[in-house]
Symmetry: C2
Subunit: 78 residues, 2 copies
């Protein structure tokens, strides 16, 4: 099973991306984890290590894909 | 079957997004069409109508999601 992590911060742009893109990912091929960086602040370092610069973003097998723009990581870290 | 259209221009960022994100979409739920706007220039108007501002982007049921940044639509229109 391949691994994907969807990072978000509960923002409207994040919710749209989660409902349309992240939820459309084939669950038979990928295990998708959903991480709210505002609530799981200990995961901010993981996101940054994977190159996440803004949310919403999905990291697929270690590669970051930013989807539209909700908030920068500096806003999330605020 | 829901409809998704992946718009790209053959750029390296586009290829990455196609191989990771677009190809991961559940084919049982979505019919995904792949459109190269450099080759199918008659589709540029469709992309713009759906709010695509840069490629790669995927339009899911009419809603645009820009994935990272490869080229702006003005670059594509050149």
């Amino acid at each position: 099973m391949k691994k994907a992590v969807f990072y978000h911060a509960g923002c409207p742009v994040c919710v749209e991306a989660e409902q349309s893109v992240a939820r459309a990912i084939d669950g038979g091929e990928y295990e998708v984890e959903y991480v709210h960086l505002g609530e799981s602040r200990d995961r901010i370092a993981d996101a940054e290590k994977d190159g996440v610069q803004s949310v919403p973003a999905i990291v697929m097998e270690g590669q970051p894909f930013h989807i539209n723009f909700g908030a920068s990581m500096s806003d999330v870290k605020g």
